[in-house]
Point group: D2
Chain length 335, copies 4
């Protein structure tokens, strides 16, 4: 049984608070958010206490672990403060938008890396995890090509886009982690960005992109992103090897199919959005974190994994802007 | 917020106890089972108290509602005792194996029918419920043919079969309720039973069956049952009308598909068994019960629905044994 | 190389003429039809000669085989005349609407049965044939349940219905043959007919039906028919056994799937109608006929198979009208 | 009715000869091949004459059109000779492996471009053509992303690889044409080649590749290739736009699905290989050619389309070898 604090009472903080509250081995103790009454409402809903003073979380003697759901610019500070206070940390992605600050964070927590986990929740999605396990068991032979299609239902507002770090650090970062999860070290990144929506272009970002990653193994991953998708949250993946392919199809809320004058076999739209699509992944992520912290083993994905995904995002950003692939000048630490 | 007692700490009692414990508007107060230490273990797991004396449940002032998961022969006694004690009741199917006892039960609780619900959980499965709603909205026009395929993964032991009341009362009863849910009153029943497994035949039962139901509306439902299915728990349904068809496909645990030397597009086995397949249905059933009891409206399916499903099961049993269709000599009360 | 005459220049005659013309081992010599100029047009299209005098076909020295596509009441006369003239015969289903006349036909051609084949083309559909072969190889174990869903896109005109012999002899007859193809001898038939369309009821027929067939083996087949289907020609089949199930899904003209605001994975309508759905079956049927006649082996399905399907149609008609299952009073000759 | 000569009696020559022979508006007159007795056998099979002297084809007064199926290095010579002799030409892809020779060909036939068609048969595949038509009708809005997955069942022998011009000119060339068919002019090409099979690497080629094409419209196409695929000939395509996506799924020989202990919904392997997968495409291609030549309109894809696909293949080859994307220095002529 681990006692949790959640920092940040926004959308993703609410997900984690609810996941903790429902978990048999977790207890929600406190929710902290300096702004508005979000922390209060969230804490009340789950029988926890609230505070507007984040420092109270680190000082609290009844808190074992902290889930960092604050805005990205605060992530590093909250990680470091929590680790120094002897708390385990589960931090939302991305660690930060600056590699320098991530490196400073790594230095600050040196020796305590095994108490920090980064929230790349998709590794814990049962569908993706099943493919990962079957690939690991050799079912398709050595992985040769990985295709990830990842499209959000709708673009966020331009105001969000502006401070997001750009599509590669904000959205593709999940897919970069997925690619590393399947392929290990990446040695080259080539990205094409698309300007389809003038509002997003005006905010300085691409709204769609295709990224090609070459792994040290010789395998190649392709990531296809879009900020919009009419059918919902499009989350597919295909692992291909010499003995076969394993494909993750989209999820729908039921298995109903319609046949009529307009055609046949029509399913509903894709589960929309990440809260619905990745409900089980958040639960699995929390279980893994609790298990690792409780047994003193290193949780995964680690802060290093968070750093490597950001390295890929930076490389993709540069590649898309310059029209030149980026070769990564050092071999990344394997996941 | 409703306070619950669960009577019966077996497999299905455990499902209901866990569903109650996890429900935001429900509280598990007591688990009662006269045999062994099942009640104790189940109560402990969910922070409730336990008892071997079922009478305590009816006497308890902190119990609003009782979920009856005792063996079938006790259902009626427990319903009546609970209702007399002013408790609401959610009773597992079937109400009883004897129409006479069901009728006695109805008489005993006369005037309080709206406090009793029968656990035909499939009505609350999101896939079936979506089809029901879309049929209700006229998407396929008037329902003409309903096809239900319902196969268990494996036959229960012959010892269970012996006391089960036979396949129609034990297994098909769910499908009879589903047929009534979609088609309303049934006027004729024709059943063919199959003897494929000598052990089940020796226990006096069929192990597979096909039943045809004619509705008052002129629609026809076909139910195809088997006690075994190699691919798991086979739970399909198709509603067909002049403007189209709505089909419920089987559920699998992930959306992974494999393609290789052996073929393509291969999904995993069907969710196996009812606890996995109908997890959400149990939750939805409980929500409906709480909502109905809290607002003083009649929950559905009612005890009358439980009776009507048994009437169909009896008619099917007779038809399969005699080789003659049964006409129902009175128009059943509509669901 | 076999030389063919086609008798009857209607829709089905045109199919057979084109199939013969395109077949590498067949040659179309003459098309005969006493009415209108259909024979002339069809013959011209395929470089054959035409006649309004059907007797010429039997007299022609350059005709090896006759495909009988005349109206059903003429089938028996044309079979007998062709056989007496030493021609092989491929006759469209049904042989006749009267068992007495079929028996008279059998008597008339006694000793020459192996030169006559009945056009139950679905046996030669690659999808159904693959399932039949895999069942035969034991992939699912002994066949226990066979489910056939067979729905036409639209009802024929009432004028056609009137002389059709009724849904069981006209439409279900294909499914009866399919059931026998998979299950062998049938010992009991139970049918429910539906009156959904008043025009068809006025013409004295059902427009939908569910039939249950019990095989001597203990297996049960269920046939679900409708005269209309909004999504096209609905032709499905599922063979179920202890080790698995083999399902024939509907065919569409392409593999295109649409995902958008209305849902996902939407395919086109079903191939519509039998000419499209069973193109390959007609070709395979002809190849089998040519192979059998050329090598002096018995083609299958035989005239006996044609008779047995009619016996089942008669039994179903009686069952649907009386509400009582029909037991077949003799064990049918196995297919 | 057009009279055809086929030059080249190899595998693809046989396909075209058979397609011509079976086409109602085409007549196969002569098959020419200087080597062995292939021409003789092929001609005999279809009732045509044969020759080892290709020049006879151009001289023949009864030949309207020539299908060029000779080895690639002869394509240009055969096109030019045929056009000069006043014959229409359908030439297999690629036109040549050298842009200079293609340009010389264009110059040599100047003024007669509308009598030459290049055999990018996939444009005539009913599945791809349906998607193209629906995109053209605006069903998904402006095309934003096109994903093509194209994998051969097995790599050809190294001896073939050596003279093939490399994967991009030999295999991807089809996908380049498909990308242009959907997206029009391409302005940038980025390719990653993979060395997975040492034998193919030794032959100087990649055996898998991922190519990203940016269109003048801003749309991006991704092509994923492999020389092997355990499940058969993997030919998929997805067109994505703001209002939806249209996906071409793989084709299988039947619609049979298996469910059993190993899982559910398992289809057969993909149609294997191009003769099976694209049978209808060859037929449609021929019909289009006949229609265009007969009516004096320009057939499509044209020789210019053949040139543009080669430009993309060259650009991809350079990109994959240098690790740098290629910008196309001129706007290509639209298809």
């Amino acid at each position: 049984m681990l006692s949790f604090a959640v920092i940040g009472a926004g959308r993703i903080g609410a997900v984690h608070a609810a996941t903790v509250a429902a978990h048999p081995d977790a207890r929600l103790v406190v929710v902290a958010d300096p702004y508005g009454d979000g922390a209060d409402r969230l804490a009340t809903a789950h029988g926890a206490r609230s505070t507007k003073n984040v420092a109270e979380v680190f000082a609290a003697s009844d808190v074992d672990a902290v889930i960092v759901c604050s805005p990205t610019p605060h992530h590093v500070d909250h990680i470091v403060a929590a680790v120094r206070a002897g708390k385990a940390v589960l931090c939302e992605k991305p660690v930060d938008l600056s590699i320098e600050r991530v490196d400073a964070c790594l230095e600050a927590i040196a020796g305590k890396e095994d108490t920090v986990m980064i929230g790349f929740n998709r590794r814990f999605d049962p569908t993706f995890a099943e493919i990962h396990a079957r690939v690991g068991q050799g079912e398709i032979g050595p992985l040769e090509q990985l295709t990830i299609i990842s499209r959000d239902p709708e673009a966020p507002p331009a105001s969000y886009i502006k401070d997001s770090g750009g599509i590669f650090r904000d959205m593709t970062i999940h897919d970069f982690d997925t690619a590393r999860y399947f392929l290990g070290d990446i040695v080259a990144v080539s990205a094409v960005g698309q300007h389809l929506d003038p509002a997003i272009e005006a905010a300085g970002d691409f709204d769609a992109a295709v990224v090609t990653l070459t792994a040290a193994s010789g395998a190649v991953a392709t990531i296809i992103n879009s900020r919009h998708c009419a059918a919902g949250y499009d989350q597919r993946l295909e692992a291909f090897g010499p003995r076969g392919a394993l494909e993750a199809k989209n999820h729908t809320s039921t298995t109903v199919r319609f046949a009529g004058g307009s055609g046949s076999d029509a399913a509903g739209p894709y589960l929309d959005f990440f809260l619905e699509r990745y409900t089980e992944a958040y639960r699995g992520e929390l279980s893994h974190f609790i298990e690792a912290i409780s047994t003193g083993t290193a949780p995964s994905p680690s802060l290093i994994d968070g750093r490597e995904a950001l390295v890929l995002a930076d490389a993709a950003t540069t590649s898309a802007r310059t029209g030149t692939p980026s070769r990564l000048d050092r071999v990344a630490t394997t996941a």
